[in-house]
Amino acid sequence: MSIISTLEQITDRHHVYPFLVPAQAPKLDVSHNVLLYLEDITVSFDGFKAINNLNMYINDGELRCIIGPNGAGKTTMMDIITGKTQPDSGSAWFGQTINLLEMDEPAIAQAGIGRKFQKPTVFEELSVWENLELAMAGNRNVWSILNARLNSEQSAMLLETIELIGLQANTQMLAGRLSHGQKQWLEIGMLLMQKPRLLLVDEPVAGMTHQEMDRTAELLISLAGRHSVVVVEHDMDFVRNLAGKDRTVTVLHQGSVLSEGTMSKVQQDPKVVEVYLGE
């Protein structure tokens, strides 16, 4: 920017600097019934294209499974949606009005996108209870968190969630001391507390027993409808369970969509069998 235009800007009393605009996302608009648009997204790292011209649309209330070989770019895709990674090109919209690429992580999270990480990440030095409390939906500006107190309704909700994730015995335990699987559960619990409009769940059942997987699947299915859920998982039993007969499954490969459709359709796709399913 030239000095003159800067000067003009400074003297222009009507000019509003970007940093003065409150970081309030516009209202979510899902009038077209599509919650998330990813269009022509490309990302490369040191020349390696991790995401290549990716297009994907998630409907409001949809439960979408995403599968694909290791390194296909699934996690990277979530990184882009949540603002961790900036794509080289393309666009990402949340509803009709919210441009995700212009927002940073907290703004995106506040707009209603929650995420569970592939490697379980919880606040290790806070207790299970506190982890969940912090995740709880609510106003996140400094003043309100300073004054925030749990009301009985919220406490009840917390207790309910703890029960759901099976950590009743560990409420006061530091999250860092949980086992791997327990951390997975805790993270799911945190995601629930956050009440996001869109849940991005990266390999939720890694390290869980079969039965736990079923429970998780149930949980996720029950969330769908009110929320949109995107699940990445390699466990085919789990994915089958989730996808049921008519839900869409997307297969990513080398950064773009290889195949999309119902589980049975995808399973039959020879390309998918070749690069992913095997046998």
Partner: protein
């Protein structure tokens, strides 16, 4: 080959492992199973020396493991694939593999080629930072890395976690191959029953830090599964 008896372990005040026994026979593949948080990882960490042991004995081929320091254990022939991969994030794939080289015999300090045959993706990504790999790629790297030390006992903590199905199958095959063809003894923690059934010879069930069952994999029946593996 590995013989653990009466092992007790504490995290601070909390008693995590209670008189655990574990026998791993030479050339066999033993699967360690149990729900989340029962102490499987902890047990493996005890074997690797990452956790201090309160009481009990632990012998590898007649040598007392408890007396060996952590860094001696790989030299005694243990390869370890930890839960959560534990890749060195800032080292390249190649360097991650090279770390184990000094453990190998003096005249053979080079990464064995069969590792790249097993995991072609590693050869592809040779110069990428380990931390940049995708979760599944890291898992493959972790297994490859453990093989570099030429182990006679390979310990794997949920190795199929986060890996695409065809590779899971492959890993299963590889474990079988290593186990059956190359005579490698394997100790495996696994949650996925079919996989366990496919590769395992023996099993050992833990519940809340205690042995509850064990034996030939064939004897792992639905009742046991229901009792100890479901919630």
């Amino acid at each position: 080959m590995l013989k653990i008896e009466g092992l007790n372990q504490f995290y601070g005040q909390s008693h995590t492992l209670w008189d655990v026994d574990l026998h791993v026979q030479e050339g066999q593949c033993t699967v360690l199973m149990g729900r989340n948080g029962v102490g499987k990882t902890t047990l493996l960490q005890c074997i690797m020396g990452h956790q201090a042991v309160k009481s009990g004995s632990m012998m590898l081929d007649g040598a007392d493991l408890l007396k060996a320091s952590v860094e001696q254990r790989p030299r005694m022939g243990i390869g370890y694939v930890p839960q959560g991969r534990q890749i060195f994030p800032l080292l390249s794939v190649e360097e991650n593999l090279q770390i184990g080289l000094p453990v190998r015999a003096r005249n053979d300090r080079k990464i064995p080629d069969y590792i790249f045959d097993l995991f072609p993706v590693l050869a592809e990504m040779m110069h990428r930072r380990g931390g940049d790999l995708s979760g599944g790629q890291q898992q493959q790297l972790a297994i490859g890395r453990a093989l570099v030390v030429n182990p006679k006992l390979l310990i794997l903590d949920e190795p199929t976690e986060g890996i695409q199905p065809n590779v899971v199958t492959e890993i299963g095959d590889i474990i079988c191959k290593l186990n059956r063809e190359m005579g490698l003894t394997v100790l495996l923690v696994e949650q996925k029953l079919p996989f366990a059934r496919k590769v395992g010879d023996h099993f050992c069930l833990l519940d809340r830090g205690r042995n509850v069952a064990g034996g030939e994999i064939a004897t792992l029946d639905d009742e046991l599964v229901k009792k100890y593996l479901t919630v």
